[in-house]
Subunit: 284 residues, 2 copies
């Protein structure tokens, strides 16, 4: 369960990234994350647990150093015992930002889930520390995590497997590599199980900066697909045999790109002022 | 997300029942629920949404009346629009206890999820109202709900489908008809995805009375199977192909029956005083 925000401070940003974010030339998303955390004076911790590649942690250390962050450190959390080590907890305790790399989200949930590291990240995020994750790292951020599923645009009964995630927020369910891997169907299926959450499909090199005020700002070169099932008129989810398409009536859908924003508690989309002005010019 | 407990009051009990509870002769579980809610002066609301049988609501009205409850009422919530009706919300607002019948838990989550009725039940439970559910109604109580899955004692990758539930508690994942339908495997699989929660497998005619002090008391003729994965040493969950058995090392298991109790925050089991005394006699 998400920790309670301290009465003095504000919750930190939660930043799911759709994977394959630009890292060298014009790394808009990573640069914005660094700025949020305090710029060159920031202390950033990288958690490469999701990845099977040995050099993922080192690689992100270099990337953040190229963005002028002096204090960046990848911590190796390969076992659940690693997630109880006091020097790991001390490092996290001092961080301004935490970045979870891509890979396999089940490796994150099975290794970190229920350990002091997971509890500390939740507590620090509630106290103002910013937490970003890309690809598998993005999926893991939420209470309800998409663990795996099938491709395709049509929701089908049983096509997606949910698992408990890190639990920084309960309001959204995140899917990533969204357009690139044709994941509309599995996100719709996940939402149809219980239409209380908002679905956020994130394209590659795209990020949702979810602030403490419940506004999401879109950044990057792709789009956010927002699925709001709160006004669902009809759902056949409970009576559809496995593998068959699920009838769903009355879903609201928004496609948002860089500069647009969305309020997850008010369920309200706001295109950027620049886009609204341009649209007015055309009709004027 | 679970509502916050009001500073003045205590959270109400959360009472998952394993299904097939005794209803006529010696209905221990239902009688205890009625007592909790205030006895014959209690106001109890029955939600028969999970069931496809037309008379489930009326049937439970009769059962509770036979237990001397004068003010019992089944409310018909067949559509999401029903879950916004003001007379329904008024009825729930006045209830001392809410009882969710069995059937299909996906019918509960797709119909009630994200509606004012679900929000109100969470808020009332946080303010002291007791909420019980049997079978599908039990599965639905938690944040992470087992929607469906396969039988068998061995955890296998992909054998269980989780979905967001009502969200009264995030600490446990519940499975019911536990011994009768051979569900150890699917509960272990659900927990292996993220070992932060405690698994509670509930036999038929058995209930877990989860109090505001985080103690569960067992009632009824069967057993509670408690699965505590918090000290898991090894899990192959993230690397096991679909359908294959998942290696899990270091799970703690408790079997508890009537009178025994378990603390979900301390992860501590306590056999009843009577059982401890009897065991002493045998060794004495």
């Amino acid at each position: 369960m998400a920790s309670k925000v301290s009465p003095d401070g504000e919750r930190g940003f939660i930043v799911p990234v759709g994977g394959a974010e630009r890292k060298i030339r014009d790394p808009t998303i990573l640069r914005r994350f660094v700025e949020l955390c305090g710029g060159r004076g920031a202390s950033i911790v990288v958690i490469p647990t999701a990845s099977q590649a040995k050099d993922t942690g080192r690689r992100y250390e270099r990337i953040f150093r190229d963005l002028d962050v002096r204090d960046v450190r990848a911590i190796s959390l390969e076992t659940r015992a690693d997630c109880e080590r006091s020097e790991v907890l001390d490092t996290l305790e001092r961080a301004d930002g935490v970045f979870l790399t891509g890979g396999n989200q089940l490796r994150l949930s099975t290794t970190l889930g229920g350990t002091p590291v997971a509890q500390l990240i939740r507590r620090r995020n509630a106290a103002g520390v910013h937490v970003a994750g890309t690809s598998a790292g993005a999926a893991f951020l939420c209470q309800h995590m998409i663990a795996f599923g099938d491709e395709g645009p049509t929701p089908r009964s049983g096509m997606v497997t949910l698992a408990p995630g890190l639990g920084l927020t309960n309001s959204v369910i995140i899917d990533q590599h969204f357009r690139q891997r044709d994941r509309l169907g599995r996100l719709l299926t996940a939402l149809a199980y219980n239409p209380f959450a908002t679905g956020i499909g994130i394209d590659e090199d795209t990020a949702a900066f979810l602030g403490p005020d419940d506004w999401i700002e879109v950044l990057g070169s792709g789009a956010l697909t927002i699925i709001d099932p709160s006004k669902l008129d009809f759902s056949a989810m409970d009576s559809t045999p496995e593998g068959e398409p699920v009838s769903l009536v009355g879903i609201r859908l928004h496609i948002l790109s860089a500069g647009d924003s969305y309020n997850i508690s008010k369920r309200q989309a706001a295109p950027s002022a620049a886009k609204i002005a341009k649209a007015r010019e055309r009709t004027g």
